[in-house]
């Protein structure tokens, strides 16, 4: 079942490539939409059959390269299932949004189908090498998206920077994985076996080095300060659909790695170095928000808020590794908050990046001061963007509030100072979004010179449907979150038990 969900997009991609170029551009996108919809339906079916109390489910284990300790092992639990669902939903939204795309559509659709398989595969992988394979392929896929459909020559430069930077991270990760592999007896890369064996317990400096390698690898992908510098150019010069996937899904791979790999497999070192992780998280929160505040480019600003939002996740997982001054319930709350924040950030930032794509489509620029009084011309666009911005800054009623509330409650007891500092991040985010909204949508109507005399057109249906859907899901999670939290909470309790051993 999981393998079907994972490889269905790749299968469709292969069929599209093998068939002659018979279809029209629109038909390719429709095939993509159909595929993404089927995949989402399958995940919904998976979710209904999922029993949160049962731990890892839908497992499938096949011998792959037994000589090297590598196996094909997939499964979902409460940590990965929400992200799998998010992946399918966001790819469907992006597919609908892409109906306007006219540039080399066949390759475009195939790349995104490939990326969907890779992202799903990463979240269901229960083997370190399988995880790594998908981790690396996601970089390759996104490189081609940015290089091929980004904004001109700068897009290619940004793609190169993105590739080099994140590839370094992936190789650091690989070194860490090898360290784990060699420590386990018998040598294996299987996540479940490694979690059970806890091979680096009591290995002091060696375990610390392994955590350093894995931590750096994941931190680059997340990204946290100081490894975030690849993110703004990659986002600014990527196409809107690519940005939405990059922020919505690919960034989660790093954060997910912390809860899936670093915490359960290296509990001792995780507890030992929890302070470092907390500090990195808090700095990311504040620094990301401050730099976002200084941006004049709408898309770049959203990119930096991603650094800020992912900082909360890192803060929470760090606090979950601090045993002193707290209890298991609080720590579990922090982990639940972190996972909820990943889902929430995927939904809201995905929508925001799609909206910034609309802005670029109309005015060919992201500069905030090029626009003024847009609300008069484009009421729907202004409305949806305002809702997305408020959702992103954590207003109650949306998923962001639920997530951040849990993170702060779970972290406050053990890491009071860091959490207090991180709280200011919320204030800064509110300021920067309100500033951008005011200057772009309110005031005297003024448009960039590049817009023809016909004026600016409002959101079309292919733009409204995906963005509003994503925000609607964020709203549902914000109002009735139990269906999501019921799935995540048992898994976070398990993680907390594993970290505490």
């Amino acid at each position: 079942m999981l393998s079907v969900i994972t490889f269905l997009p790749l299968l469709v991609c292969a069929i599209l490539l093998l068939l002659p170029r018979a279809l029209s551009a629109r038909a390719y996108i429709q095939v993509w939409i159909a595929t993404a919809a089927v995949d989402l339906a399958l995940v919904v079916a998976l979710w209904t059959g999922f029993d949160p109390g049962e731990g890892m489910q839908y497992q499938q284990r096949v011998r792959w390269i037994p000589g090297a300790g590598v196996g094909y092992h997939v499964g979902v639990d409460g940590l990965s299932l929400p992200l799998v669902a998010l992946t399918c939903l966001l790819f469907l939204a992006v597919a609908v949004y892409s109906l306007k795309e006219r540039q080399r559509v066949r390759s475009y659709v195939c790349l995104f189908l490939f990326l969907q398989t890779v992202s799903l595969g990463l979240f269901v992988a229960q083997d370190l090498i399988l995880f790594f394979v998908f981790f690396d392929l996601s970089i390759v896929g996104m490189f081609f998206v940015i290089a091929g459909w980004g904004h001109g020559e700068r897009g290619r430069a940004a793609a190169l920077k993105f590739f080099l930077y994140t590839f370094i991270g992936s190789l650091a990760l690989l070194l860490g994985f090898i360290g784990l592999y060699l420590a386990a007896e018998p040598h294996t890369f299987d996540l479940v076996d490694l979690t059970r064996a806890n091979p680096l317990a009591g290995r002091g400096a060696y375990a610390g080095l392994v955590l350093l390698a894995i931590g750096v690898g994941l931190a680059i992908k997340t990204p946290t300060v100081p490894f975030h510098t690849w993110l703004p150019p990659a986002h600014t010069d990527a196409p809107a659909a690519g940005s939405a996937i990059l922020a919505g899904i690919l960034l989660k791979m790093g954060a997910y790695g912390f809860v899936r790999i670093a915490m359960p497999l290296l509990p001792g070192s995780w507890r030992q170095y929890a302070l470092v992780i907390v500090v990195v998280g808090a700095v990311s929160v504040v620094y990301g928000a401050l730099v976002a505040l200084a941006q004049t480019d709408f898309k770049r600003m959203i990119a930096y808020t991603s650094v800020n939002h992912m900082g909360y996740v890192v803060l929470a997982v760090g606090a979950a590794g601090t045993l002193a001054g707290t209890d298991a319930q609080a720590r579990s709350l922090a982990v639940t908050g972190a996972v909820t924040q990943m889902v929430s950030h995927g939904l809201i930032t995905g929508a925001l990046f799609l909206l910034s794509g609309v802005l670029y489509d109309r005015g060919r620029t992201y500069a905030i001061d090029a626009y003024s009084g847009l609300a008069a011309h484009t009421p729907r666009f202004a409305g949806v963007t305002a809702v997305a911005a408020f959702a992103s800054l954590g207003i109650p009623g949306f998923s962001g509030f639920i997530a951040e509330f849990q993170i702060f409650t779970g972290s406050l007891a053990s890491r009071t100072v860091a959490t207090a500092i991180a709280l200011t991040g919320i204030l800064l985010t509110a300021a920067l979004f309100l500033r951008a909204l005011r200057s772009m949508f309110l005031g005297v109507p003024r448009l960039p010179q590049s817009i023809p005399t016909g004026g600016i057109s409002d959101l079309e249906r292919t733009e409204t449907v995906p963005t509003v859907t994503l925000l609607a899901v964020a709203l549902v999670i914000g109002v009735v979150p139990r269906w999501l939290l019921d799935v995540i909470e048992p898994a976070s309790r398990t993680v907390i038990e594993l970290v505490a051993r």
Partner: protein
Amino acid sequence: MNENLAALVPELALVGTAVIGLLAGSWLPRRRQWIIAVLAAAACAAGLVATGVTMATDREQTVFAHAFAVDTATDFGRLTVLGALLLIAGMSVETVRGHKRETEYWVLLLLTGAGTLALIGANDLLTLFAAYLLASIPAYALAAYAKDERGTEAALKYYLMGALLGTTMLAGTALLYAAGHATLYRELNTALPTAAYGLVAVGLVGVLAGLLFKAGAVPAHFWVPDVTDGAPTPVAAYVTTLPKIGGLIAGFRLLHQAVPGTDVNWPLLLGVVAAVTMTLGNLAAFFQSSVKRLLAYSTISQVGYLLMALAVATRTDLAQRSLLFYLAAYAATNLAAFAVVTELPHARTLDDYRGLARRRPGLAAVLVVCLLGLVGTPPTGVFLGKLEIFSAAVDGGFTWLAALAVANTVASLFYYLRWLAPLFRLTPAEPSATAFAVSGRWSAATAYTAGAASLLLGVAGGAVLPLTTGPLLP
């Protein structure tokens, strides 16, 4: 004494076919010289079958007073070498067809291939040196095959380096003989630990010098870029692939079988050589604009990674497996890249590849697989090889070397991407159609086969890896 010739079928098939081919080629008219090519391919196929039978029936043995070992390393090395020879033959077809010296090409290729096979199995210093000569001398002639200025210069450089380091190797052999009173590895193994340290150290370095020349490792790497650039492309593919397989497996066997007990700190020596080789190869590749020179330096850096396995030869069980697997994956990947270059004879610089993805999507796909493969992107074969070799290095106590290799891998990404990026670039200044004129179907088919093999070795690595584990016979 075991003198079972049946154990040597692959070597004999190549040498025998070379002799038959030379005689037959003298009488065949030029347009029928393709028959020799068919014979050569048949010889490789026969060797593959014979190796398969040996592996299936467990006929591992040493022959001729233990001077030649037919064991796991030999078997797997034979499969790699013969498979690679077939691929090289495939991409050579268009280059040499109808050439007035076509027969010579095939004969020389068979002879140097036989020499490589002999290197792999050599279990004795003198066998090793004879194999070194058999593998090298035909290769010098191949380098100058086109008889043009650049080819001649390349051949001269190749020959001078080879002669110098061959002499060094012979001197090293003499010193080891003086120290251990034997040339057989099994006897050296027991004699060398008690022998004079200086003799053993200098002798070992001398012998290794010759093998490093074959592998194209720093400091014996100066010939690699010139020969790769000057020789015809299929020959360039040959000199950057097969001698490495021969030299590295021979080196592994020497280190593992003959000198493990000595006080000489050869693991550190090889670790340093590996580090320097991968770093220099990468740095030199950075700003190359000619695709062949870029590939040449990339092969040097790949040897650096491969040498890591030699450094930990006796320290971990993973070393042999990682070396053999990496060699096979590297051979398939490197040959696929060269097959693409052969297929596009007019595209010489990186810029000439601009827009290839649109014009020749198949070839562009092969290049993407190979170049990303050479970086070590999963799920290609080289990724699995790198994974194994890094594991071996860490397990053998060379964590610093593994970390350096990781850093180098990242650095290498830069120049591979410099080649990859133009493939997808669409600019008004697209080169004219002649840049992408293809040389023929054979090279293209070779590129696709080798590219698929490179990918398959990664995905189906589980089926291949068990073939690489087994004891070396003393």
